[in-house]
């Protein structure tokens, strides 16, 4: 065989077999997303800059900042933003306070059966249709509901307590539907803390609470941030919870969007509110994903 020159020996660019062309695998999904996700969302953006015209959906092309100006200048609208953010913060904090102990129990119980059972309960309650869970909440908390009914029967109260159709009801409802997400975010973070660290601190003379405060809690912070942001994003985006538990009296951004469209027919304005909601939730979610990535060391 004749000697080869360096040029002949160079196999050149990757030939087909090493990295087989995989694009056809992802193409259907990508086309689907471009057509039914990217384009619609961008259209919504465009609509939000179109001049508001009650009852007209189609794009007219009269670009204007009017819709956004209205949101930030009229009390009614920025109050809705404020209300959404306030509820989101309250719900995140409550979920953290009541979710952390349960996550801790699941992550640290020595009985594997208990951990599996609790995990399945949390997963199942997360997956169950929200409207069905809200049905249960409403039967429990209504003026004529189980709580008021029971307390009246026991003679403790004479007037029903206002548990629903107000901020309180919405917060309780949102906590119910978002709590599993908080717990799932926390379990992973707490589990990844080496129990030997806690034991080492105990052996050095720390009390159980001191260990919790100085070791467990700080090390689980990535999960805490992730869970809090996720719950916040879910809470401010929810339409069905404020609609049912707030009885249209608690006006949040999603409620606002629906009202603008279903009742007033102002699509362009509704679109602008939707964009604001989207950006707020995208911001929280982006930080959430970044926190999660750091937590998982790039595995996600």
């Amino acid at each position: 065989m004749t000697e080869l020159t360096a040029e002949q020996i160079d196999t050149g660019p990757r030939s087909g077999w090493q990295a087989p062309n995989l694009w056809w695998l992802v193409l259907p999904a990508v086309l689907f997303l471009i057509l039914f996700f990217l384009i619609p969302v961008l259209s919504l953006f465009a609509t939000s800059f179109d001049k508001a015209f009650a009852g007209v959906i189609t794009f007219q092309g009269n670009l204007t900042w009017d819709n956004y100006e209205r949101i930030f200048t009229r009390a009614l609208y920025y109050k809705a933003i404020y209300k959404s953010v306030f509820l989101g913060v309250a719900v995140s904090l409550i979920c953290l306070v009541i979710g952390y102990p349960l996550a801790y129990v699941i992550a640290r119980t020595l009985r594997p059966g208990t951990a599996t059972l609790l995990t399945i309960l949390v997963l199942a309650s997360m997956q169950l249709d929200m409207v069905i869970r809200l049905y249960g909440m409403m039967v429990l908390m209504g003026d004529n509901g189980l709580i008021n009914n029971g307390l009246t029967a026991l003679g403790i109260i004479s007037e029903p307590l206002p548990l629903m159709y107000n901020d309180f009801g919405v917060v309780v409802g949102l906590v119910q539907v978002t709590l599993p997400f908080m717990i799932l975010s926390l379990i992973g973070a707490i589990k990844s803390i080496n129990p030997a660290l806690e034991e080492a601190a105990r052996s050095l003379g720390s009390s159980r609470w001191h260990v919790m405060r100085t070791i467990t809690w700080p090390l689980s912070l990535p999960g805490v941030y992730a869970g809090t942001l996720l719950v916040f994003a879910l809470a401010i985006s929810s339409y069905v919870v404020p609609a049912l538990m707030g009885g249209w009296k608690v006006i949040t951004l999603p409620i606002h969007i629906y009202q603008q469209i279903a009742e007033v027919g102002r699509w362009q304005f509704g679109a602008a509110v939707a964009v604001i909601l989207f950006l707020t939730s995208l911001f929280a979610m982006t930080i959430y994903i970044l926190a999660l990535r750091r937590n998982a060391g790039g595995r996600v």
């Binding site: 995989l22 969302v41 020595l110 309650s125 997956q127 049905y135 249960g136 806690e198 049912l244 469209i261």
Partner: protein, 268 residues
Amino acid sequence: MSDVKPIPLTFRIIAGIALLVLLVPVSIVVMAGFNSGEFLRFPPDGLSLRWIKEFFVSQTFLPAFKMSFGLALATTFVSTVLGTLASVFLTRSTSRWREMLRALFIMPVILPGVVLGLALYVFYIWTDLGLARSLPGLLIGHVLVTMPFVIATVTASLVDFDLSIEEAARALGASPLQAFMKVTLPNITPGIMAGTIFAFIVSFGQFELTLFLSTPDLQTLPIAIYTSLRYAFEPTAAAAGIFAIFLVTVSTLLTSRLVNLKKLLRRH
């Protein structure tokens, strides 16, 4: 054992409260569905199958349940096929677009349901292809929000899959496609099935997106219950809920058998 590392009592109590918050509403739905009276009160009236029977002849809830079930089946089929193919790309490709695509694929669940519903509805009206308030239009929306779940689970099982097994098949004479079909696919089937179940459940309980895309004659179960809840607490709705609860519990148990829950949690 439990006194080696006791969980503080305060923690146990709060954990109990959290568990109550999660489970009480569900129990109430079950109680309301099996209650003999018109309205659940304290103490309850007694047990009966009255509302379950009512559900089976209901003009609203039974068709809605069937509608939800059928829609979820169709959705699951489409998103499992599209999502599994995409997952293979996401785990095998070395393309520099991979990370961008990965981000694109989770976007639909990041977007608030109301926003996505509105965007799709506006798009359907603009394009005027007859998708607005139609079954295909609804299906498209559901595929969008379920595909990320399929991609997440299938990607996870592909990442865990030991590539040398597929390489062994190649060395034994299998083409890339043969190796994938005969060796890889059978081994990631549990992951795909878990993704399928996830997709089914998400579609079955989907509400906010559906709100913009359904019509009175295309009512899904969540929409039907929501509509009835705005006027009264119909026990028939609770009876329908019992079937949904059963469906979800069975599928969660199934998922936990199929995939290692611990692995799943690490990724959350």
